[in-house]
Structures are given as structure tokens and as C-alpha cells.
């Protein structure tokens, strides 16, 4: 008997008891759907994280100075020196001082992020100007009262005509010398709701506190690690103890996040795969019942010349068909549920072709492996005992 005939027989016997077939498949359906959902959402999340990192710049190195109380801390001169001494690996550097200050436009207080920056900040963060100019060396050196605003501030507070106007920061009037191009949907919570002033002014606003953050960019992906090493060795030389500072490389962070996410996904997929195992046992169970129920049929087939292998093949194909069908239903279910769930949490779910192919393969394997035992039991039945079975 050929494969296609066995297959048609299997489909027919499934069709005669649809409810039972569906219940038999349930374990496989749930298992495959769970695996697909986890993989699609995981991949989608991975893409999202990567694109966030890329937005920040993968060559970005963030130096955090925790400081050591009253003792001398490293200053921006040393940091600028570091940049000048290592043009082969460091492309740009800027202090980044988050300040606490009240920003007002007329009588209205703005709730915005105020950051003190150096002239290279625009390069470090890959920002773009739409009008005017950015903070320049002269501004920081002379502590001039000038500022650059994000596109959201420009739209919301100045109706798009902020250039040349003034903002009041802690009571001082700052002239707006530049407006940045929109970078993140122009929302109040994105990077567009921001005001930049010279870092020297910002430190003064903070009561001449230590600058606790510097941002560097490496010249390329390849020099990332070297730039990090150079910065760390300078800091080590200064502080003699790595408790006082921290250098974070975005590309390292990205790799680390990728690893963590990969591990989490593996664990989740493994848990979901247990359901596939349970599904396989379900198939085996039903197949054993089916073999018992059809003992007489097996006897009849044997009396007509069916060999053990014909019977075995019939039942294995039946088990395989059941689980592959379950797998396909699971894939459809998984892909649609992942899309819905992705929509809700704001991730673009991505069902990869390989995930779908592997799921199909695994369900086929589950069916064949767990179908083998019942099929073999059927194949080994003695024709006369099977015929007499009531």
C-alpha cells in the first residue's frame, strides 16, 4: 500500500471522529501556539531593543562619575584631554549635566528636561538642527546665557517660532539660538521635549557640583572596545579604584541585553515544549484506544493480506497526520495571537519562517514517535485473535 493511500485512510479515520481528533490535537495545538507566540514576541522585542540602542548610537560610551565625597574628582579638562590624545579611537566627547531648574516662558512654567552640554554634544548624540546653531565652545567658555530647544518645546511654547525668543531659567533670560529637528515623534515624553544650555551654566545652576556624566563616541564599531579601555585606564589612574566611576558601552549593553533575552526565550520555549510532550502522550493514549477499538478491523485487514508493516504504517501516518494538523492549527493560532498581543504591548510580532518550519517538524516527530508504540502493537496482533476480538 502506498503512502498516499495510507495518508487518505488516516485523514478519513480522523474525519469520522472530528471531536476526538480535535481533543487529541489539543496538547499539540497549545504547545505549538505557545512556542510561536514566545518566539514571535521575543524576536519582535529584540528588534525593538536593537533599534532603540541604534537610536542612542551603538558607538556611544557613557562615563558615570560617582565621585568620592569631598576629595578631588576628575574634571572636564582631563576628559577633553583624553579626547585630544586619542583621536584614533575617540571621535567626540561632551559633558552631560542634568540640571534642576525652573524653566519658564513668560509666566508659564515648562516641564521639560534641561541638560548642560558641550559643543560636541550634537555630534555625540547625532542630533540635527533645524534652525540656528548649537551650543558652541565660546558659549561654554564664557558661560553665555544661550540655549537650544527641542522641536516639541518650539511647537508647544513658541508655535514654531522660538528662534531668537527668550526662556527664563532660574530667573535668567536665555536667548534661543537654535532649534533641533524632530527626532522622536515630537511628544512630551520623547527627546523632543528638551532644552540645552552650556554645561558650565548647568554646573553653576547645580551649585558647582561635580559633573557626573560624560558621553563619548568611538570613531567606529571596531574602536569601541579600545576607546573604552583608554577611558577606563585614565579613570583608574586618577581614582585607583573602580568603585568611583563606571564606563558603559552601548554595544556591550546591547550584546548583554541580547544574551539575557536569548536565555529567557530559551527557558520559555522549553517550558512551552513540555506541552508538546504532553500532547504527544495524549496522541499515544488515543492511538492505543483506537488500536483496541479497531482490533477487529486490523484482523480483517490482516486476513485480506495486510502485512505487519502495512498496519504499522497506517497507524503511524494517522498519528503523524493528527499531530501535524494540530501543529498547523497551533501555528495559525500562535501567529494570530502573537499579532494581537504584540499590538497590545506595542511590539511588532515577527513569526519567522524557521520557527514555523521547526514547529511543523517537531509536531510531525512527536506524532511519529508517540504513534510508534500503538502502531507497533497493532502490527503485532495475531490475525486470528484480532478477528475473534469483540
Amino acid at each position: 500500500m502506498s503512502f498516499s493511500q495510507s495518508f487518505r485512510l488516516a485523514v478519513k479515520s480522523l474525519a469520522t471522529s472530528k471531536m476526538r481528533a480535535l481533543l487529541t490535537m489539543l496538547g499539540i495545538i497549545i504547545g505549538v501556539a505557545a512556542v510561536i507566540i514566545i518566539i514571535s514576541l521575543g524576536d519582535g522585542m529584540n528588534d525593538m531593543i536593537n533599534s532603540e540602542f541604534e537610536k542612542m548610537g551603538t558607538n556611544l560610551l557613557q562615563v558615570q562619575i560617582m565621585g568620592r565625597g569631598t576629595a578631588q574628582n576628575i574634571g572636564e579638562e582631563e576628559m577633553y584631554a583624553l579626547e585630544d590624545e586619542n583621536p584614533d579611537c575617540i571621535a567626540a566627547m561632551s559633558p552631560s549635566v542634568s540640571s534642576v531648574a525652573t524653566v519658564k516662558q513668560g509666566s508659564e512654567t515648562l516641564s521639560t528636561t534641561l541638560t548642560g552640554v558641550g559643543e560636541e554634544y550634537i555630534a555625540v548624540k547625532s542630533l540635527e538642527l533645524s534652525q540656528g546653531r548649537f551650543i558652541q565652545y565660546i558659549d561654554t567658555a564664557r558661560m553665555q546665557d544661550v540655549c537650544v530647544i527641542g522641536s516639541y518645546v518650539n511647537e508647544e511654547s513658541f508655535n514654531g517660532a522660538g528662534l531668537g525668543e527668550t526662556l527664563s531659567i532660574n530667573g535668567n533670560e536665555y536667548t534661543i539660538v537654535g532649534v533641533l529637528a524632530e527626532q522622536a515623534d515630537n511628544t512630551s515624553y520623547g527627546g523632543d521635549n528638551s532644552v540645552y544650555i552650556p554645561y558650565t551654566n548647568a554646573t553653576r545652576l547645580n551649585g558647582n557640583a561635580v559633573i557626573s556624566q560624560y558621553l563619548f563616541t568611538a570613531t567606529s564599531e571596531d574602536t569601541n572596545a579600545r576607546a573604552k579601555a583608554v577611558i577606563e585606564s585614565r579613570l583608574e589612574q586618577f581614582y585607583g579604584d573602580d568603585d568611583y566611576y563606571m564606563v558603559i558601552s552601548m554595544s556591550e549593553m546591547m550584546d548583554m541585553m541580547g544574551n539575557i533575552q536569548g536565555t529567557v526565550m530559551t527557558v520559555l520555549v522549553a517550558i512551552a515544549a513540555i506541552s508538546l510532550l504532553v500532547g504527544g502522550i495524549g496522541i499515544m493514549n488515543i492511538m492505543l484506544v483506537s488500536v483496541t477499538e479497531r482490533t477487529r478491523e486490523i484482523g480483517i485487514r490482516k486476513s485480506l493480506g495486510a502485512k505487519g508493516k502495512d498496519i504499522r504504517r497506517q497507524f503511524i501516518i494517522e498519528a503523524g497526520t493528527t499531530s501535524v494538523l494540530g501543529g498547523i492549527i497551533g501555528i495559525v493560532l500562535g501567529v494570530s495571537l502573537a499579532a494581537v498581543a504584540g499590538n497590545i504591548v506595542g511590539i511588532t510580532a515577527k513569526a519567522s519562517l524557521s520557527a514555523i518550519l521547526i514547529s511543523t517538524g517537531v509536531s510531525l516527530a512527536v506524532g511519529v514517535i508517540f504513534g510508534y508504540l500503538p502502531a507497533n502493537k497493532a502490527a503485532k496482533l495475531n490475525p486470528i485473535d484480532a478477528l475473534r476480538y469483540e
Binding site: 493511500q5 480483517i300 486476513s303 493480506g305 502485512k307 505487519g308 502495512d310 486470528i384
Partner: protein, 250 residues
């Protein structure tokens, strides 16, 4: 040719041994129509299961067409069943989930015949029993007599040399029973060897030859028209006289 030589079939039930066949020897030539008769429990079905390669003797040899089949492995026996033997059972034994045509096609399917030839052969067999119009029906949509005719069609579809019928009329009324019997006679006339099992003497006399079993032994083997073939030996007294079959009273 079917040849039994000193065949025993012994079932061990606890510490008693049931001799279902107790040293049976006979030969059936090609083209014969033989009825195996005897009381219930005399060993008729046991003999037929061995002839049909569904069961093996405890001892003794069984040769079919000159080959000792009792020592063959399962797959070889399956091939013998497929090519050389056709079965007709009392309970029809059709597969309920397949339609009439598919049931008749089964032996051809296991014989590896291509689909189109299989279909035409099966339809021809159904034609012979007058059921080609019902080929798409399920067995449970047919009467008992029709189901038995389907099983006859199935038995002859592969054109086997030997057709084995175990109480083929047992579940039918006498008129349908006679119809089934006349099919067997037609097949015999066409050259098939027929082995018919019955405990009904009125049916047995339609054969050429009768083998009568009692307690696993042959007590008569000869011409069906010999009065001794149907008359029970006096010492037994348990069996009904000739022509008195319960199915025949309807």
C-alpha cells in the same frame, strides 16, 4: 491443493488440554467443493483458520499448492492470504468506515495493484454479485444478505484459487442463504476450490464432498451424496438428522 498431515491444534486451558484438532489428515484437490461439517465445538473453524493461514497447527504439517505454509513467517503468510485465499465469514467482516467499493478493493490494495485497475476489478466483482449500483454505500446501509454478497465480491476480487467460507449462511434467512450458496456453486464451476463450513446438512449436501468432524477427528470423508455423510453415527446421537437445519425452517 490443500494437504493436512496429522494436524493437531491443542489449546492449553489451565491444566486441561483442549484438542480442537486431534490428528487430522486430508487432501483437497484443486477445483473441489468440500463442506466441512460437524457439531458445535468439533473443530471446524479451527481447521479453516489453519487452511486460511490465520492460525498455525500445534503439530503436523499443512501444505498449500505443495508448499509447507505452517513454517512460514507472518509476512509470507500475509502474501499467501492475499494471493491464494479468499475469506467469507459468518459475520461478513466488512470494515464499517469504508464504503462497499473500498472494502472490495482492500485485498487488491494490499496486493499492490494500481488504483485504476483495482477499481475496475472491484467493480467487476461487485457486478458478479449484483451490487455494483451500491458501490458507494456503507456496509451498514445494506441488508445482511447484501453485506454477505459484498464479502463474496471481496473474496473473489483478487481471483484466489481457494475460497474459504465459515458458516456464510449462518446469519441469513434460507432464501438469501440459498442465493449465497448458488454464488459459491458458480465460483466452483468457474474453477475455484471451495471449502465451506456449516453445521447445516441441507447446505452441506450442495457440496461434492463432505468432511465430518467430531471432537477434532474426522469421522467421515467422502461423497456428499452418500447417506452416511449426513446421518449421524448412532453412538453419538447428539446431532440432528439430515436436512434438519434450524436456519432452514424460516
Amino acid at each position: 491443493m490443500i494437504k493436512f498431515t496429522d494436524v493437531y491444534k491443542i489449546y492449553q486451558m489451565g491444566d486441561t488440554a483442549v484438542h480442537a484438532l486431534d490428528g487430522v489428515s486430508f487432501e483437497i484437490s484443486d477445483g473441489e467443493f468440500v463442506a466441512i461439517v460437524g457439531q458445535s465445538g468439533s473443530g471446524k473453524s479451527t481447521a479453516m483458520n489453519i487452511i486460511g493461514c490465520l492460525d498455525v497447527p500445534t503439530s503436523g504439517t499443512y501444505e498449500l499448492a505443495g508448499v509447507d505454509v505452517s513454517t512460514m513467517d507472518d509476512d509470507q503468510q500475509a502474501v499467501i492470504r492475499n494471493k491464494m485465499l479468499g475469506f467469507i465469514f459468518q459475520q461478513y467482516n466488512l470494515i464499517p468506515t469504508l464504503n462497499v467499493l473500498e472494502n472490495v478493493e482492500l485485498p487488491l490494495l494490499y496486493g499492490g495493484m494500481p488504483a485504476s485497475e483495482r477499481r475496475s476489478r472491484a467493480m467487476k466483482a461487485l457486478d458478479m454479485v449484483g451490487l455494483s449500483s451500491k458501490y458507494r454505500n456503507r456496509p451498514n446501509q445494506l441488508s445482511g444478505g447484501q453485506q454477505q454478497r459484498v464479502s463474496i465480491a471481496r473474496a473473489l476480487a483478487g481471483n484466489p484459487g481457494v475460497i474459504l467460507a465459515d458458516e456464510p449462511t449462518g446469519a441469513l434467512d434460507s432464501r438469501t442463504g440459498r442465493e449465497v450458496l448458488s454464488f459459491l456453486q458458480q465460483l466452483n464451476a468457474a474453477g475455484h476450490t471451495i471449502v465451506l463450513i456449516t453445521h447445516d446438512n441441507s447446505i452441506a449436501v450442495r457440496a461434492q464432498r463432505i468432511i465430518r468432524l467430531q471432537d477434532g477427528r474426522i469421522i467421515y470423508d467422502g461423497d456428499a451424496h452418500d447417506p452416511r455423510a449426513v446421518v449421524q453415527p448412532t453412538e453419538s446421537g447428539a446431532e440432528e438428522p439430515a436436512g434438519f437445519g434450524e436456519e432452514d425452517e424460516a
